[in-house]
């Protein structure tokens, strides 16, 4: 096993990886930017090195700096976490050149899956269902032929696209030509490239993904699915496993498909194959994420499989000791991403200092975070504060447990989405499992807090002022045990026992 691993990341995932290393008896090396000197990953690691400015481009994204620290500290492997350099082909290659193990797939797998068109091609060759549509960019005439063939509604998308620009939803044939013209002109002005492609529009899709894990000995396993349909700004907020939408048969089918894709690129390590699923339970390949996912804990909760530890073991050459039929799932897990943001202003990030923090606990409750009372949420990084994960024997049980845990959570100093998450847990459609990626847009009422119980809030505020005005009168501070001990013995200050 490795003696020392460098963690090229920050925040809760760095903390998660450091803990896994400690359990495996591996020394840990943290790297940190200006903004992160007081971060938890620095405190928990055995060694920590400063690597530059707060902007990711000056620190966590600089390959040379990370490799310098790896060499200086004698780290034998680097775990990239997610984001930053985790899916960077160049970084994987440079690690290889420096004879440092990159904990993840090969540079080749990163490249193949990193390019959307190549990934689609590989999926197609592996007989994986794709959203029906044109193969690449099309002319005006071809576009309308494809649209007729796949049937309306269809989506016109800019080939160079992103951020919804150059995208048009067309519900009827009569609207097609004018929508095509608009999409082309928008794409042309936004990206300097007016080529477009046509795709079947999937109505009310669910986002379902399959976790896979592959060793370097040809064994590829899937660890079932996660349903990540509750999203805002195209980012996941609530994830669960298993999905309430799919049958055991579909689960097996999706798992087999995901394993085929992984095998097609000689995948190694943990990865996720993402699909969208329509209302008739047809599923289509979206992309493959070649790293550990934010939401990996829900899979760990239902399978008992420690994904992060296995990533390390596999990178060290270990063989997976299980067969697919030995992987079982039990119960239901939910994850809520607690963000420093304001749901009422379209989830605007709310950076600041956490003045007070209290984290829920109890059976089946897991809080993966890197914050503490006094830590600062800077605008330089993603505003996720923590991932609250619960496990219970049923979905209903998990929802109730999550609601109860969210009610115990206290965060003062920054705005959070905790109240919003709590309202989702109580919403009927969510409780019935009728969710899709349009869920939050469909429920604007969940963005606003309900009526507050004014009395306790006013009482607490008045008490806070009273305590501040007259701390000695407040009395409510815990009395020192030494003082009590002294009183009991009848001693006072200055006397020697």
């Amino acid at each position: 096993m490795f003696n020392k691993i460098l963690i090229a990341n920050r925040g809760e995932i760095a903390v998660r990886i450091i803990r896994a290393c400690k359990e495996l008896g591996i020394s840990t090396v943290a790297v940190y930017s200006d903004a992160d000197r007081r971060s938890l990953h620095v405190a928990l690691a055995d060694e920590a090195y400063h690597i530059g400015g707060s902007a990711p481009g000056e620190s966590y994204l600089v390959i040379d700096k990370i490799l310098d620290v790896a060499k200086k500290s004698g780290a034998e492997a680097i775990h990239p976490g997610f984001g930053f350099l985790s899916e960077n082909e160049e970084f994987a290659k440079r690690c290889e050149k420096a004879k440092i193990v990159f904990i993840g797939p090969s540079a080749k797998a990163l490249r193949l899956m990193g390019d959307k068109i190549t990934a689609r091609k590989i999926a197609h060759e592996a007989r994986v269902p794709l959203v029906p549509g044109s193969e690449g960019a099309v002319s005006d005439v071809e576009a309308s032929v494809v649209a007729d063939k796949i049937g309306y509604p269809v989506m016109i998308k800019a080939s160079a696209g992103g951020g919804g620009k150059g995208m048009r939803l067309v519900r009827e044939k009569g609207e097609f030509q004018s929508a095509l013209r608009m999409a082309r002109s928008e794409a042309g002005s936004a990206f300097g490239d007016d080529s477009v492609f046509v795709e079947k529009f999937v109505e009310q899709p669910r986002h379902i993904e399959i976790q896979i894990i592959a060793d370097g000995h040809g064994n590829v396993l899937h660890l079932f699915e996660r349903d990540c349909s509750i999203q805002r700004r195209h980012q996941k907020v609530i994830e669960e496993a298993p999905s309430s939408a799919i049958s055991a048969r579909t689960r097996k089918k999706m798992g087999d498909v995901a394993v085929r894709i992984a095998k097609a690129v000689d995948y190694q390590g943990a990865g996720t194959v993402e699909f969208i699923m329509d209302q008739k339970r047809n599923f289509y390949f979206l992309e493959m994420n070649t790293r550990v996912q934010v939401e990996h804990p829900v899979t760990e909760m239902i399978t008992g499989f420690d994904i992060v530890k296995w990533m390390i073991r596999i990178a060290d050459g270990e063989k997976l000791p299980y067969k697919q039929n030995q992987i079982e799932m039990k119960g239901h897990a939910l994850e809520c991403r607690v963000y420093a943001e304001d749901p009422e202003t379209n989830f605007m990030p709310s950076p600041g200092v956490i003045d007070y923090l209290r984290v829920p606990s109890g059976p089946g409750i897991r809080d993966d975070s890197s914050i503490y009372s006094g830590s600062e949420i800077t605008p330089h990084y993603d505003p996720m504060l923590s991932k609250l994960i619960v496990w219970a024997d049923t979905r209903e049980g998990a929802i109730e447990k999550m609601a109860s845990a969210l009610r115990e959570y206290i965060v003062i100093g920054v705005k959070t989405n905790i109240g919003f998450l709590l309202r989702v847990m109580g919403e009927e459609e969510f409780k019935e499992g009728r969710i899709d990626t349009g869920y939050i847009e469909r429920h604007p009422e969940l963005l606003k807090p309900g009526d507050v119980d004014i009395e306790p809030v006013l009482i607490a505020a008045a008490l806070a002022m009273y305590n501040a005005d007259s701390p000695e009168k407040a009395e409510q501070r815990p009395v020192s045990n030494w003082k009590l001990f002294g009183r009991k013995l009848g001693v006072s200050g200055g006397q020697v026992l």
Binding site: R233, T345, N346, F347, M348, P349, P351, D355, Y356, R358, S373, P379, H380, Y381, D382, P383, L406, R407, Y409, I410, V411, I412, G413, K415, T416, I418, G419, F420, L421, L422, P449, V452, D453, I454, E455, P456, V457, L458, I459, A460, A461, A462, L463, A464, M465, Y466, N467, A468, D469, K473, A474, Q476, R477
Partner: protein, 164 residues
């Protein structure tokens, strides 16, 4: 002791009277008897009318932030002098400021444009996300100080809206 608190746009008078472990609190004419303990400096437990309520409390100067059941509430204590001024908010001249270090993506209004209450006036990007800034009053844009693409600090005034 009497405290005047502004909460969600309303002014409340809270009368607090301490007698051993019992605290009498009068809010808007209604009196309740509360038993109170501070569990930690910032964690209060109050018992009253058969309810046990635990709240997170942080007081900073005139402002108190309270966390209860997933929501963060902010209250402002008001002195006699401030009270006369409060009637003037939400009118007059409002500066639209960037709430955090960010990049200006879009200026939606030009100098001289009319704006509605809560209408978007600018779009900024921070922490990989775009956010729209809205006008807190109805009025006219009198000044625009930044250009699209500018990097701005927290508190930088982007535009000024006037209702006069």
């Amino acid at each position: 002791m009497t405290y005047t608190l502004k909460f969600q746009g309303r002014i409340y008078k809270v009368e607090l009277e301490k007698d051993d472990n019992q605290i009498k609190v009068e809010i808007d004419g209604k009196t309740v008897t509360v038993e109170y303990k501070s569990i930690e400096d910032n964690l209060y437990s109050i018992l009253y009318e058969g309810k046990s309520i635990t709240l997170g409390v942080v007081k900073k100067g005139h402002n108190t932030q309270i966390f209860l059941n997933g929501e963060l509430y902010e209250l402002e204590s008001i002195s006699e002098r401030d009270k006369r001024k409060t009637s003037q908010i939400a009118s007059g001249i409002q500066e639209i400021k960037s709430p955090m270090p960010s990049r200006v993506v879009n200026i939606l209004k030009a100098q001289g444009d009319k704006v509605e209450l809560d209408e978007g006036v600018a779009v900024i990007e921070a922490m990989k996300m775009e956010s729209e800034l809205k006008s807190p009053i109805e009025g006219e844009v009198t000044d625009v100080f930044v250009n699209e693409g500018d990097a701005v600090e927290a508190g930088t005034v982007l535009l000024v809206v006037s209702s006069e």
